[in-house]
Amino acid sequence: MALITMKDLDINYKLKSRTVRAVRGFTLSIDEGDIVGIIGESGSGKSTLAHGLMRILPENGYMEASEIVLNGRDISRISDAEFRELRWVEVSIVFQKAMSALSPVHKIFDQMYDTILSHKPATRKEDAEKLLTKLFSVVNLPAKALSMYPHELSGGMMQRIMISLGLVFNPKLVILDEVTTALDVITQGQLLDEIKRLVREFRLTAIMITHDIGTVNELCNKVAIMYAGELLEYGEVEDVIFNPFNPYTKALVKSHPDLNPHGMGLRGIPGTLPDLSNPPEACVFYERCPYRKDICAKEKPKLIDYAGRKVKCLRVGELS
């Protein structure tokens, strides 16, 4: 069953002289229990999408959608006050930079208690402590971290705190925004293992925003490929990464050094992202696509169901 369905989601940033169309026509439905990786390079709109879903866009950011159904309820048209009731209770987010997400001048317990109070003002301190101690043991944190300040903790520990903060109300959907990116390799691996376990234990649905295909391969079961604000391919990780259909996905996988033997076979993608204040009318990847044909410059491809996944490419029949 679909937990969240987004239809024709657009996010624009209004600048002085132009409008940057960061996310365009994003349509995706995520099933309960899935761990979906959203892969994109910088400027692909993946973080903007996450922030849009949480309604925490900067002031010049505007989101429009024909519908966003979360848990059976259309949340695209509810007021900010109504959304505030949902935020953190039904959907929460874990940020990349735990260091800047936590207040440096409050003890961990105090700032986490604050979050709890904002939704359940009647919570007693002892109960909050009990709850947080339990959560901490789940994410492998010592209980004494509650009485510490952020600067006393390592990057991995802070990220675990952010994750446990995201789980405080046992939400259905958790968005993980590049949570392992700034961490060391081993800490990153340990955290990925833990997230996998948490998703099962808490019956979560997770969206993992990342630029690293390896992370998605280890953590997720579905993957969405974003480029220049559009969704280009969506399906099972096994299918999309090991047998990509869309030319961008193909190129992306090829440019990953992975654990390739030495020196051979790595290919970059020449060219740069299109200007998103004036995105191309037709295919967004046309300029850089090695498989392009004349028709690709004229006609806009639609996201179609193809061989058990969703692909956006006019030539998908020939290329897959």
């Binding site: 081993i186 691996g189 391969n217 090829k254 050094p257 033997p261 970059g268």
Partner: protein
Amino acid sequence: MSTEMLKVKNLVKYFPVRKIGKKQYVKAVDDLTFSIKTGEIFGVLGESGCGKTTLGRVINRLEMEQSGEIQFLGQSISGREYKEDKYFRRKMQMIFQNPYDSFDPRYMIYKSMDLPMKINMVGIDQKRRLEKILETMNHAKLTPAESLLTRYPHELSGGQLQRISILRSMLLNPRFVVADECVSMLDVSVRADVLNLLLQVHKELDSSMLFITHDISVATYICDTIMVLYAGKIMEIGSSNDILNSPLHPYSKALVSYSPTIRKGEKERFRITGEVVTPIDPPPGCRFASRCPVAKEKCTVEEPKLRTIDNNRQVACHFV
């Protein structure tokens, strides 16, 4: 190929910790001995705080060592700062992680490329120097070269600027290049091209390189030999394929098993606990002992020496 370009013997670099009363040191680089052959790309792999950047800076004379000896092209360069020694600077160059920091924002790219040659008196006059710059850029397919030269750093993308910074370091035909995390900032699709450019110019100049990275897939792609560092000590040295496919040291095993990859199927983790230690006055014995799953009593008492196993394979562990 067999001649040694750089020899490092018992290299030590400590940083004092600012503390009143007791004097303490961060043992960033502690007694390292290794050598780099002509034409070799020598990878330094490790997590944050392992001393890999310090090592690069000491070799490049940006920091002075505490003790130990460095031989470069058969001559000892330890104990000298080489600030004014143009001959030395021509022979040894550095590529930094963030290209936006390594270019003067107020200089046109042309000026940043021309100055090093002018100062080192490479090329007879401005016209010849410009010819050489254009030739190098065109050869590296960085086009249109003329128009790129008239830009300022902020007008270029990170990938373009990093490629220019690689070419700039090569203009003086150096014998040795220290590349410090030079692709970590870049998107995968761009990273591939930068790595390939690095390989190409390296091959053409037959220079040697110290390639510092935390990413094992990048390291195995580009390096001939990999040295694994942990908390200022060498854990293992071996060919990149050996380190990747059959790591011997427990730390290398963990590092390889925790790196996210795009290989099919579930990977067996070589589980370790804890986080990277900062080497402030470390206890005797092996630096990795506190986290090592196979550590015995001996490991906390006696420090393992770097032993040669076979085929230029060296490991510092009692139980290999």
